[in-house]
């Protein structure tokens, strides 16, 4: 990132797009999401940042960070928050001298009496003439060693690795910086399953709807590299495997940050250089991380639609516990018999109107069964406005397609359907894609119960509510789009 953008954007109306944040999520170069006292924070270029008080769906300005400069990063270490930012005034055609600064705060809440940043300390720098541009930091606390690392840099030369003291935030005395990548910017570093992953942003920044910004990564067995991409090309030679690229209505993905929500549930934050649904504004994006063959990629936020909700346990599909209504079509062509004069033509699927009148009027239970695309197996998933959400998505209602019959959690920790959706918290669902591509489905609330339980298959044919366990297929669902 080389240009500083003015980010004080006039408020605009809430747009309910389940694939974008709501509120006023306008930011450039967002820092990794950090949770503080039940709220999420991210800081951007130029000072300030965004706060989400509803679990990560609605974002508005309000975060405060002094010092200006470009593309900060933030992380919690112990009971304090460490912020790193590049204090520089350069640009693509300007000076590339800069200073990297760190500072602490006990809280990120500007309204807290404890909100006070420590005096910034310089931990790295660049001068004109270096093949290095000291901005775009990333903080990384190595879970295997407890050592704190910082990467920074831009297309103007290398991405460099520095070691900091996790107690002070200062540079470790005697530490010598190391080049780990070239010709990228907005780096990020994290560890997973024996590998260190270095992410960087390629493409053109700061060109609005024409920005080609995209996020790539390489990996290494040691934090110091070498970082290679999936074809073995070093990131020091420009390598990198794509993690996020432009979409249909949003383009220019940059400034990756990773948030681990639970075992098997990870999110990535970044910005779109331009959101076509929002006048081309630079906007905060949150997507699930899906892992394929040891490489991260952007998963899918849930889109409104009609789905077969398939249990990963056995492969049966969630359905209403109603009578199976047979289609009145004679079996044909079985056992080798076929009338050569028989006309071959399509057969209509069973329609809701054919069966709905036979269903009970009140509560109807649910179970898992063989999928035949019958009306009692077709679930409409719809984002709900104004009820909050979670990281990257609003809450959803899950109804039988064509009806208001809604999936609901019950006070005895089971699951049922109610005849009419009312918007009650037990009828709202958090649906997250997991790192293996399956989905976790969790009610917003369970009546009289404070436990966080999700929809699980306790038996092949029996759904219920239970504790989420990423290592069990009982906890996982496939969403197979029907319409």
């Amino acid at each position: 990132m080389k240009k500083f953008l003015l980010l004080s954007i006039a408020a605009c109306g809430s747009l309910l797009n389940a694939n974008a944040q709501t509120g006023n999520p306008y930011i450039h170069d967002p820092s990794t999401l950090v949770e503080c006292d039940g709220k999420y924070y991210t800081f951007g270029t130029g000072g300030g940042g965004l706060i989400s008080a509803d679990g990560g769906w609605t974002w508005d300005s309000g975060a405060e960070r002094p010092g200006g400069g470009a593309a900060p990063d933030a992380m919690k270490i112990g009971d304090r928050y460490l912020i790193a930012y590049g204090a520089t005034g350069g640009g693509l055609g300007g000076s590339h001298s800069g200073r990297m600064l760190t500072m602490w705060n006990k809280t990120l809440d500007p309204k807290s009496p404890d909100f006070k940043f420590s005096e910034p300390v310089e931990v790295a720098g660049s001068v004109d003439g270096d093949d290095f541009d000291c901005i775009d930091p990333c903080l990384f606390l190595d879970p295997t060693t407890g050592r704190l690392w910082l990467t920074c840099g831009t297309y103007f030369g290398h991405i460099r690795l520095f070691e900091l003291d996790p107690k002070t935030g200062k540079r470790v005395e005697g530490n010598k910086e190391l080049d780990v990548a070239i010709d990228c910017e907005a780096s990020a570093l994290f560890y997973k399953d024996g590998w260190y992953y270095l992410l960087g942003t390629h493409g053109t920044c700061c060109d609005g709807v024409n920005s080609t910004y995209n996020i790539v990564c390489g990996r290494s067995k040691t934090v110091t590299g070498p970082y290679l991409d999936n074809v073995g090309r070093p990131m020091l030679q420009g390598g990198g495997k794509m993690v996020v690229k432009g979409g249909l209505r949003q383009v220019g993905a940059g400034h990756f940050g990773r948030t681990v929500v639970a075992d098997g549930l990870e999110k990535m934050s970044f910005h779109w250089e331009a959101d076509f649904e929002r006048s081309g504004m630079s906007t905060l994006a949150i997507r699930p991380i899906v892992w394929k063959n040891g490489w991260p990629e952007a998963g899918k936020n849930v889109a409104e639609g009609v789905y077969d909700i398939e249990s990963q346990r056995h492969g049966y599909s969630l359905e209403l516990a109603v009578d199976f209504e047979r289609l009145n079509v004679a079996r044909r062509g079985g056992f080798g018999r076929r009338d050569p004069n028989q006309k071959i033509e399509p057969i209509a699927n069973q329609a809701l109107a054919d069966v709905q009148g036979k269903w009970a009027a009140g509560e109807i239970g649910v179970r898992n069964g063989d999928f035949l695309a019958r009306p009692h197996q077709q679930w409409k998933i719809t984002p709900v406005d104004g009820v909050g959400g979670f990281l990257g998505q609003p809450y959803f209602k899950i109804t039988i397609n064509g009806t208001n019959r809604a999936l609901a959690a019950t006070a005895d920790k089971e699951v049922t359907t109610v005849a009419e959706y009312t918007g009650a918290p037990e009828q709202l669902w958090q649906i997250d894609q997991l790192t293996d591509g399956t989905y976790r489905i969790m009610p917003k609330a369970i009546p009289g119960c404070s436990e966080k339980l999700c929809l699980i298959s306790i038996a092949d044919s029996t759904p219920t509510l239970g504790a989420f366990d990423f290592n069990s297929d009982n906890s996982k669902w496939q969403l197979n789009g029907i319409k």
Binding site: D323, D370, E414, I458, A459, S461
Partner: protein, 248 residues
């Protein structure tokens, strides 16, 4: 020809007796524990009641609730049967359709015509058995006892004795074909459709078992094909419970 017929009958009888020894033992007087995988192997089962069904595809929820709600014998939902106890059963007996002399069997016509029934009674006996397998082979049981294998309803009862109250447990059942299950008289599970026996296929909602005796009762219906079931008790998270109760 007559000799051949008698020979076939004798052979079938021997096979059936062998089958019985292969699958079951008479239940002892001592209480037993569930097996190493938590399956309950001791059941008192009534000889199969005739219930003609040419296909198992009719076993939808409403059909099952209607069929299992019907009274076939006195105290059907409360009886704690003893081994050898007999009950008088009322059932719908299919009327044999006479075939015109000299005409071959017309299976196509037979499958198109609805069967006819008449009310009938018969005396059937309860058998208290320990299954040699984790599952209870109902078809082999019916085959041995009264040579009735298809188009049947089985009633099965077992009594478990809990050391302490067991709260938030589940009844886990696999059955071929459809079935319904009650614990201490409460309807806890209905397993509809043309179902195969799969361990942990269906589980009840969370239920509580009381300290002392608890009665598990099941009704299993089958048209053509194999019939069996397996039952165990699991905790609310599906973990098998292998101790803390015995089977009377």
């Amino acid at each position: 020809m007559k000799k051949l017929f008698v020979g076939v009958l004798l052979a079938l009888s021997c096979m059936s007796a062998n089958a019985q020894e292969k699958y079951f033992l008479p239940a002892g007087t001592e209480a037993v524990s569930p097996d190493g995988e938590g399956f309950i192997r001791r059941w008192t089962v009534l000889e199969p009641i005739s219930k003609t069904n040419r296909s198992n595809t009719v076993f939808v929820d409403s059909y099952l609730r209607e069929v299992f709600a019907k009274e076939y014998f006195k105290n059907q939902m409360t009886i704690l049967p003893k081994d050898g106890q007999k009950v008088k059963v009322t059932f719908d007996k299919q009327v044999e359709q006479p075939r015109p002399a000299g005409q071959p069997m017309d299976f196509r016509r037979m499958s198109m015509e609805p069967p006819k029934f008449e009310k009938a009674t018969e005396t059937l006996k309860w058998h208290k058995l320990d299954s040699k397998n984790y599952n209870f082979k109902l078809m082999r049981f019916g085959e041995h006892e009264i040579k009735r294998v298809y188009g049947v309803i089985y009633w099965a009862v077992t009594v478990i004795n809990c050391d302490e109250d067991m709260n938030n447990v589940r009844l886990s059942v696999g059955s071929n074909s459809a079935s319904q299950w009650w614990v201490n008289g409460e309807d806890v599970l209905l397993m509809s459709s043309d179902r195969r026996m799969v361990a942990d296929d269906c589980m009840s909602r969370r239920i509580n078992l009381k300290k002392g005796e608890n009665v598990i009762r099941g009704a299993i219906i089958n048209g053509p094909g194999m019939s069996d079931f397996c039952v165990r008790i699991v905790d609310e998270n599906g973990k098998v419970i292998k101790s803390g109760y015995t089977i009377k």
